[in-house]
Structure formats: structure tokens, C-alpha cells
């Protein structure tokens, strides 16, 4: 990797300050960024590590019953601490990467990176999560803006993610054989006022909602209602590991399985 400086701020305020440098880059758990640096694909002047900011770490519930997760909280901690309060989210976190990834990687890092094959974006989008930054609150529906693209502006840091806990929810992941990222992942969340179905891994624009399935499932939360639906293949990824048609097919299969398992 190229040489860089590292800053380890103790507060969000100091982190924001450190990020003012032109080529500065925030560092969460580093599970994407560090391999990128090792491959010499990025050359930041300074890495601003966020994992030492204690206010960014931890899980709690707010007065509305939402689960609030600090942005620098590791996947392993989410898996453990949400096991009762939000089982589907905990199960998702428990299956990201391997133990090393889960103990280093953070929810804020994952959402800010918005890898089209990452798991967390599906959970955030399906659970109508609110992404809280040092500047504002962003609804998940507005946060994800395409592959590796989010609503975050320069110098803006995710501080917390607030999840509304659905009545029922489940995440189904079909792994890409090499990377074991989601070739397709579907998060289904059933609320009082309807069902949300968020799909990751499959589409060129990153995580998206399969609205036709949401409508059908909102009427009747049963896998059978998906029978006559098909996910559109036209914006799906086609690569070594599967054609757009295969991914579209998996979206339907996994949605059905998630409904059944929820």
C-alpha cells in the first residue's frame, strides 16, 4: 500500500475536523478499505479511524422502540446484542463474511460503502431505517443512490442507524461462491401498514425494493402470492457467477423463502 497518515479522533467533532484534508478518508472496520489499499487501488493522505469514538459504539432502544446502533458497532456485536430484539437483523449480521470480518467490520462502514453485494443495505431499506449523520437524519429510501453511491456528502459521517422493528422479518442470502458476498440477498419485513422487500446483490444500481412483491405480500403474507410474479431481469447484474435471468429468478425464490421463514 501507499504511505498514509492515520488519525484516531476520540470525538465525532475531531473526526469531522480530521476529514477536512483533501485526500482524507474515513476508516470504519477497514474490511473493504484495507484490502483496497493493499491492492494499491486507493491512495488517501490520511485515514480517519472512527472505531475509537466511544459515542459511535453500542446498541440501545429509543423511546419509539427503535433499535439504535452506533455506526462503529461491529457486526459481531450486532449479532449478539440484537439476538432478541431484532432476530432477523442479528441473523444477517452473524452471516456477514467470516469471524475476522464480523469482529472488525462496522455497520456504518458497510452502509457508507454501499457495496451492491453487501447485506446491511437490504436490512436498512426493508426496515425503514433512519441513517443518522453528524449533520442530519436520512431515510433509507433516500440514502442508497446506486452502486457505491449514497446521499452522504463530503465530511459527513454516519453516527447511528435506527431500525424500526417489524412484526415479522427474515433475510435470505444466496452466496456468490468465491467471495461469499450476496449473489442475491432478500430482506422481507412485515409491518402493520404493509410489507417491504429489499433486494441486494442482484442489481446494477445496488439495493432496491421489489415493489410488486411488496404489494402482493401486503395483501397476503404468504409465499404463494409470488407465484405469478417475476422480478425484472433488465437491471440485474450478469457476471461469471450468474446471468441477470438467474439473479431475477433467485430474487423470487429467496423472497418466498424469507416470507416462509419470517
Amino acid at each position: 500500500m501507499y504511505n498514509f497518515d492515520i488519525a484516531r479522533p476520540q470525538t465525532v467533532k475531531d473526526a469531522v475536523k480530521a476529514l477536512k484534508d483533501d485526500e482524507a478518508q474515513p476508516l470504519g472496520g477497514g474490511q473493504t478499505l484495507i484490502p483496497t489499499l493493499k491492492a494499491r487501488l486507493a491512495a488517501p493522505s490520511v485515514l480517519v479511524s472512527l472505531t475509537g469514538i466511544s459515542e459511535l459504539v453500542g446498541v440501545c432502544r429509543d423511546d419509539d422502540g427503535r433499535i439504535c446502533i452506533g455506526a462503529a458497532t461491529s457486526h459481531a456485536r450486532v449479532a449478539k446484542e440484537c439476538a432478541k430484539s431484532y432476530k432477523a437483523l442479528a441473523a444477517l449480521a452473524a452471516r456477514i463474511g467470516d469471524p475476522a470480518v464480523r469482529n472488525r467490520g462496522t455497520i456504518g462502514g458497510s452502509l457508507a460503502n454501499n457495496d451492491p453485494s453487501a447485506c446491511y443495505p437490504a436490512a436498512a431499506l426493508a426496515s425503514t431505517a433512519t441513517i443518522v449523520t453528524n449533520k442530519r437524519e436520512i431515510a433509507a429510501d433516500k440514502f442508497f443512490q446506486g452502486m457505491f453511491t449514497t446521499a452522504l456528502k463530503d465530511g459527513e459521517i454516519i453516527t447511528e442507524v435506527r431500525f424500526v422493528v417489524p412484526q415479522k422479518a427474515n433475510y435470505q442470502k444466496f452466496e456468490q461462491p468465491a467471495s461469499r458476498f450476496a449473489l442475491v440477498g432478500v430482506f422481507v419485513a412485515k409491518f402493520d401498514d404493509g410489507v417491504r422487500v429489499a433486494v441486494t446483490g442482484a442489481a446494477e444500481d445496488g439495493v432496491f425494493r421489489w415493489k410488486a412483491a411488496e404489494q402482493a405480500l401486503s395483501k397476503s403474507f404468504k409465499p404463494e402470492v409470488l407465484t405469478d410474479l417475476s422480478a425484472p431481469a433488465d437491471r440485474m447484474i450478469g457476471d461469471l457467477h450468474g446471468s441477470p435471468e438467474y439473479r431475477a429468478h433467485l430474487v423470487k425464490v429467496l423472497t418466498g423463502r424469507a416470507v416462509k421463514a419470517a
Binding site: 444466496f174 468465491a178 461469471l240 446471468s243 433467485l250
Partner: protein
């Protein structure tokens, strides 16, 4: 005899240092004053090298020197160790293989320049500052397209991209054609044997060193055969005689064939160290290894099997395109020919066989031997076409195989090899038992309850290993002998050191080899130490590949130990004032037959080095002997494998539920190590069958260029194996009766997996699915089900 001789499952003594971090790998070696090398490599698959500008890079911090192709003008290229003769009797087309590109680049990763700097990071930084101007040329990637008229030529000085068009046995061609035309039934199968990237756990490393005071060069390298590298590099590339060149391969973390070959980086570091009069070290990055280690397999094949009404095999005809990549790697031409065509009889008495192989140059990384090397490709196509034939003629696939088994030995195949021993009925019987084939229907019913399709795949395999009789391979085009060597040095107090040309890079030689010597003398194996991997220590040897180490290297060790015992008996006879002929050696003691006189092993070894009471007029002091062993035939391990899979019909995902292997390896030295070899081989075979795939796009860019896209098998991809090697028909022509076990698992397992997947789909009603190319990924299974 103390415990722990032949047949004992001694624990691997080398694992203590490997598992406690006290191994000594090449990258662990750091020499005083060492500089670091970083290679500038082509990012395009094919192009004319217009200019390499090193001016800016040379000014970067720490840079010592930058080498380009110009520095290698007039210096030898990397030699090819095997010349294949084509159907018409002409030698293959053999292009130059420069250490650094001369005029053209021919694959992504082709080395263009090298920066030497004080630190590795400085070398990499400066390597990025080397400006390379390349005029990109159209690349040829697809083998069949590469043979079209007007296709871009990988090598401008060759007449085409065809390396050779090989026919075997050419004299049988017409008879085979005729038999196929007139047969009751012909089954045809077109398939791809997928290209693989070896991925040894330890990437390659080379350190060149030069002593200006003595003029001696040393290369430390991750090689399976340091003597071969010393000969190839010394004689053909750099012009250094063997007595001025030492090659050391210390602990090596896996090779699987990819570390047999002589690579440009080895020659470069040795050359540069002499130029700079300082050590030069290069450590391969993992991403660099993807585009520089020789790849494996990559065949496109059409096979036809002709059968009689009752299922008797009449003839086999195969037509294969084999990818050579951009240059000929060290043994590349021999893999699709002599290590592939000669195995097309399999375990069956097919009377007529014709094999055609067209080896093709493309703008891809060179392809060479990879665990099994030619034999997996032969086994896969034969065992797949037999399965397909069984289905077409409505016969049970096991019954069809049994009907055609070779049952009498020795058996001369129509493809030029003679199987000395074997019992294919016994291994199939054993397989049916250990795989519990009778219980399959019950298990299939349970899978069905879960909504899954269960399938059973069975196949046989045979391989030729114990490579190889030198006079025979010489006739076939090898430019090397394939004997092995051993020096047994007995120390004064009775301990032994065996210096062998075989090289252990995971095989456990340091444990199993002493078992043989200990058994012969009747001492504890802990008294025997194995030295390997240093050309200054071991006599000229040919190294480890082709499952040859115990069969050939072990035999050399036996011969040397026999000489030791013969001499020791003379010394013992002298000590006991008896005749040589009356001396018996048992449990580490020499005794005079019919008397109670005896002396211990240690008494004799001490006498050899403290020869106060010694027959100095008849024999020399000391106890050290060397033997070279050249086998008279290949060995022929064989067996039968069974795989059960569950296919998820909704997603196409295949889960391997069980895998059983019944192997005949002849005699066994260490059963636990043999189990481990079979486990590892099957793991690699499952990897090839379900996961691994090296893919280039049409421009020659490597798409599967990291573990993000190249799927290696992991622990949860494979089941617990059931392996058995109790069927033993000892080899008749080596002193240990051993056959070798290193590659069997990788050779025998891919067809079992694919047969099982096709079986599952057929049973599930997808009767149109007769084949799926490897890797049988979920996407491919799903696509096959869609029709």
C-alpha cells in the same frame, strides 16, 4: 523391530515446526545487504512494446537499478523440457520464451521490466513510475478461433498458433474410425475441462545471491525440484555450470505442480544478484501469482465411445484442443499428450483407441502440469462418456464398467502402456460396501422430503505415476531423465541422514521416508533424518511431481540402504570373525546364523568410523552410500469413487453429501499420510468440479483475478470422506511394491461429482440434462434445468 516402520501411521514430524511457526520458508530468508525486486508487468494481453521509459522511476527513492528486456538481449530464454513430435513426424513449434519481454507482450502479467530498490515498497512505487508504451494488438483467447486462418499470431515467427497436432496411436486411426462407423451404438460427449489457477498456500519467492569472492551463485526458490532448476537455469538461461550454482528450496508451502517449472523470476534474481553483487529478493503477491503461476487443465474435448449391443466397448476416439498459453512452460507439451493420451484406456479393455490433441498458443498465462496433469483430463472425459453411454443404452453404469474391466494382468493397452497389476473388481466391490450404495434409495427419499434431488455418481480411474523410465520418456521427447537419487549417510553412533532428490512440500516425506529405512535395518524411525531441497547436499535428483516420490525416490533410498546393509554386514562379520554370508540383520542387531554371537547396529557403525578393528584391506572405512534408481515402468494406482449430492432444484445449488474412495496404491508406508493425500486430492477435485474457474474475457483480461471471483473450496464445501486403501496389488517392478497416492484424489473425483449432479437431475425429471460443464455452479445447474 521397534514400532513405527512400514505400515505405521506415524504422526507427521514436520508438522511440529509447521504448526508452531518455526518452519523456514523462502520468504523467511533475508540475506545481508539484500535488495528487493518489483516486476513491471503487461496489463494488456497482446501488444507491441514500443518504449520502456525508466527515467522517472530511476530517480525515485531507494532505486538501485532498473532492468528491461535490453539487459537480456543475448541471454538465453526459458527452456522447454519436452519436445512433442506431431502426427506427421515433425517437431512441435517452439517459440522463444524471454526472461523479460523482447519486442512484444503476450499475456496479461508478461514481465517487461524490473525495479530493484532498497525496500520492497520503494521497488513497487518505482515500478509504477516506469512508463511503458505498448501498441495493443488483437488478442487470441479462444483456442479454436486461434487456429482460424488470419487469426492474430501470438508468435510472429511461427507459422500459426498451432504448437502441434498430435495423433496417438496414429497407426490406429483408420481402424478406430472404421470401428466407430460400424458400431451398434456410439455415445458422443463434448466437454470442457476447466482452466484452473493452482493457488498453493505459499506464493512463489526467489532470492538470488552472488559471492564475488568465489564466483558462486545461489538461488533460494520455492521449487518442487531444485536440481532441475539448477540444470535448466544454469545450462540454458544464464550459462552457470552446476558447480558454481547452488539451488535451495527450503520449506515449501504446497506446489501441486505449479512449482515444478523454471520461472523467469528465478533466472532474473540470480542474474541481477550477479550484476549488482548483492542479493536480490522477489516475493510474489497473491494477485501477481494469479497471472504468473502456470495454470492447469484447459482442454476442450469431443469424445466418442463405440459400444456393441451388449455394452462391450469397441473403440474410443477423442479430439482435444489443449491450451498452452502464450509460451511453453517447462513440461507443458507433455501434459495433454503423453500424460493424457496414454491413459485413455482407463480401467477397460477397449481394443481400439485414437487420441488427437491440438496444442494451441493463446494470449493467456502458460498452462502446465497441475495435480494429476493430463490424467484428470483423460479420466474425466472417459468416465463421463461411459456414464452417458450407460444411460443411452439403458444399462446400470456400474454394471457397464464391470463388464469392460481389465481383469488379467499384465495388460498391454492399445495406447502404449502396460499395467503391471490391478484388481478393478475388488476396488469396485469395496466401494459399493464403503459407500453403502444399497442404502441410496432410502437416502434419496429423505432428500426428496426436504425438496432436494439426490444423485449418485460413480466412476473409476487409473493413473500412470512413479514417473518415469528415462529411456522411454527420452524416446517420447523428454529432454531430461526421470530417475531419482538418495545418499544414505550413517553416522558413527548409528543415526542416519538420507539426502534425497525428492522434495517434500506437503507430502510428509520427512515422516514416511524414515519408516522405510528404519524397517530395513530394524531401528526406530527417529534415528533417521531426511535432508532435501539443497543441491549442495543431495545428489542430482529430479524432484517431486507425478506421484513419484515413494515409488522412485523411495526405491533409490531402498537401493542405497541395501548397499549400507551389505557393507555393514561385512564389518559385522569381521567383528564376529564370521563369514559375510552367515550374517543376519534383525531388529537392529547383526548375528551369526546358528550361533548366539551378535553385535548391535551401533557397534558396527562405530567400527566404520573408528576402524581400529576393521577389515581395512577389504573395505573402506565409513558408511555412506548413494544410489540412483530409474524405474522400468510407470506404476498404475487405480480405484473406484462414489459421490452423493443433493441439488436444490430452486437455486441449482449442489451440496456434496458424501464421498467414498476405494483406492489400490499397492503397498502403503504410512496409512495416515495416504489418507491425507487422498483427502486433499478429493478436495481439489471437488473444487474443480463445483467451484474453480479461470476465466478470461475476449480481450485477454483475467476476470477471475482474485479470491473475490476465483472460488477455492473451503472446509464447508466438502464432506467427511470415506477412504479405503485395503485393496492392494503391489507394484511388481519397484522394491517397495508401492504405486503412489499424491494425485489419485484429484484425478478420480471430478467425474464422480458431475456424474452425481447429472444423475440427480435425471432422477428429478430433468431428463434432457446429459452434461454440465465444470464448474457445476448453481447458475449453470439452473440454466441446464431451464433447457
Amino acid at each position: 523391530m521397534p514400532d513405527g516402520g512400514i505400515g505405521a501411521s506415524n504422526k507427521r514430524r514436520e508438522d511440529v515446526r509447521f504448526l508452531t511457526g518455526s518452519g523456514n520458508y523462502t520468504d523467511d530468508i533475508n540475506l545481508r545487504g539484500q535488495a528487493h525486486a518489483a516486476f513491471v508487468r503487461s496489463q494488456v494481453a497482446h501488444g507491441k512494446l514500443k518504449k520502456v521509459d525508466t527515467k522517472a522511476a530511476a530517480k525515485m527513492p531507494g532505486v538501485i537499478r532498473i532492468f528491461t528486456g535490453k539487459d537480456f538481449e543475448g541471454i538465453g530464454g526459458l527452456p522447454c523440457g519436452w519436445c512433442v513430435t506431431d502426427r506427421l513426424g515433425n517437431p512441435m513449434q517452439e517459440p522463444a520464451h524471454p526472461v523479460l519481454a523482447q519486442g512484444k507482450v503476450r499475456h496479461v502479467g508478461d514481465p517487461i521490466a524490473v525495479v530493484i530498490a532498497e525496500t520492497y515498497e520503494q521497488a513497487r512505487d518505482a515500478a509504477e513510475a516506469v512508463e511503458v508504451d505498448i501498441k495493443e494488438l488483437p488478442a487470441v483467447i479462444d483456442m479454436k478461433a486461434a487456429l482460424n486462418d488470419g487469426a492474430p499470431k501470438v508468435h510472429d515467427d511461427l507459422s500459426s498458433n498451432l504448437c502441434y497436432d498430435w495423433g496417438f496411436v496414429e497407426e490406429n486411426r483408420e481402424a478406430v474410425d472404421k470401428a466407430i462407423r460400424g458400431a451398434h451404438h456410439v455415445t458422443t460427449l463434448e466437454l470442457v475441462n476447466n482452466r484452473l489457477i493452482p493457488n498453493a498456500m505459499e506464493p512463489r519467492v526467489a532470492i538470488g545471491d552472488y559471492n564475488a569472492g568465489t564466483g558462486d551463485s545461489t538461488l533460494y526458490t520455492t521449487s518442487q525440484n531444485p536440481h532441475v532448476i539448477r540444470l535448466l537455469m544454469g545450462a540454458f538461461v544464464l550459462g552457470i555450470p552446476e558447480h558454481k550454482l547452488r539451488v535451495v528450496s527450503p520449506d515449501v508451502g504446497g506446489g501441486f505442480g505449479s512449482k515444478i517449472f523454471h520461472y523467469a523470476e528465478e533466472a532474473f534474481c540470480t542474474f541481477a544478484a550477479k550484476q549488482l553483487k548483492q542479493p536480490v529478493k522477489w516475493t510474489c503477491q497473491r494477485s501477481e501469482s494469479f497471472m504468473t503461476d502456470a495454470h492447469g487443465r484447459d482442454h476442450v474435448t469431443k469424445i466418442e465411445l463405440a459400444l456393441d449391443k451388449d455394452g462391450t466397448f469397441l473403440a474410443v476416439r477423442t479430439d482435444t484442443h489443449a491450451n498452452m498459453g502464450a509460451y511453453l512452460s517447462t513440461f507443458a507439451p507433455s501434459i495433454p499428450t503423453w500424460l493424457h493420451g496414454t491413459l485413455m484406456a482407463g480401467n477397460y479393455k477397449t481394443p481400439l483407441i485414437y487420441v488427437n490433441v491440438k496444442a494451441v498458443f493463446t494470449n493467456t498465462v502458460p498452462v502446465d502440469a497441475y495435480r494429476g496433469a493430463g490424467r484428470p483430463e483423460a479420466t474425466f472425459q472417459l468416465e463421463r462418456v461411459i456414464d452417458k453411454a450407460a444411460r443411452e443404452i439403458g444399462m446400470d453404469p456400474i454394471a457397464l464398467r464391470r463388464k469392460n474391466f481389465v481383469t488379467e494382468f499384465p495388460y498391454a493397452t492399445p495406447v502404449a502402456v502396460e499395467y503391471d497389476t490391478g484388481d478393478y473388481v475388488a476396488t469396485m466391490d469395496k466401494l459399493e460396501q464403503i459407500a453403502d450404495l444399497k442404502g441410496f434409495d432410502k437416502r434419496a427419499a429423505e432428500s426428496k422430503k426436504k425438496g432436494l434431488l439426490r444423485g449418485l455418481g460413480v466412476n473409476c480411474y487409473i493413473e500412470a505415476c512413479g514417473i518415469a523410465p528415462s529411456n522411454l520418456v527420452g524416446q517420447l521427447g523428454a529432454r531430461a531423465g526421470l530417475y531419482e537419487s538418495a545418499t544414505v549417510r550413517v553416522n558413527a553412533t548409528g543415526g542416519l541422514v538420507v539426502m534425497t532428490g525428492s522434495h517434500s512440500h506437503g507430502q510428509g516425506h520427512e515422516t514416511s521416508f524414515p519408516q522405510v529405512v528404519a524397517e530395513m535395518i530394524g531401528i526406530d524411525p527417529s534415528m533417521v533424518e531426511i535432508e532435501h531441497g539443497d543441491t549442495d547436499k543431495a545428489p542430482m535428483g529430479m524432484g517431486t511431481y507425478g506421484s513419484r516420490s515413494i515409488a522412485v525416490g523411495g526405491s533409490a533410498m531402498v537401493r542405497a540402504t541395501e548397499k549400507i546393509i551389505a557393507k555393514a554386514k561385512k564389518i559385522a562379520a569381521h567383528l564376529m570373525e564370521a563369514s559375510d554370508a552367515d550374517i543376519e540383520l534383525k531388529d537392529g542387531r547383526f548375528s551369526v546364523a546358528g550361533t548366539d554371537k551378535s553385535v548391535a547396529w551401533g557397534d558396527v557403525t562405530l567400527a566404520a568410523y573408528v576402524p581400529h578393528n576393521y577389515p581395512l584391506e577389504d573395505i573402506e572405512p565409513g558408511l555412506e552410500e548413494t544410489a540412483f534408481y530409474d524405474p522400468s515402468n510407470f506404476t498404475y494406482p487405480a480405484g473406484a469413487y462414489a459421490c452423493e449430492v443433493e441439488v436444490d432444484p430452486e437455486t441449482g445449488k449442489v451440496k456434496v453429501c458424501s464421498f467414498a474412495a476405494a483406492d489400490d496404491f499397492g503397498n502403503i508406508i504410512n496409512p495416515m499420510i495416504v489418507d491425507g493425500q487422498v483427502h486433499g486430492g478429493i478436495g481439489q477435485g471437488i473444487g474443480q468440479a463445483l467451484l474453480e474457474n479461470c476465466v478470461y474475457d475476449s480481450d485477454g483480461q483475467l476476470l477471475s483475478a482474485s479470491y473475490m471471483d476465483y472460488a477455492m473450496p473451503r472446509a464447508d464445501d466438502v464432506p467427511f470422506y470415506s477412504v479405503d486403501h485395503s485393496c492392494q496389488t503391489p507394484c511388481t517392478h519397484n522394491p517397495l511394491g508401492v504405486k503412489g497416492c499424491g494425485e489419485a484424489g484429484a484425478i478420480g473425483s471430478p467425474p464422480a461429482v458431475v456424474n452425481a449432479v447429472v444423475d440427480a437431475l435425471q432422477r428429478g425429471g430433468h431428463t434432457h440434462v446429459t452434461h454440465i460443464d465444470m464448474p457445476v455452479s448453481p447458475a449453470r445447474v439452473w440454466a441446464a434445468m431451464q433447457g
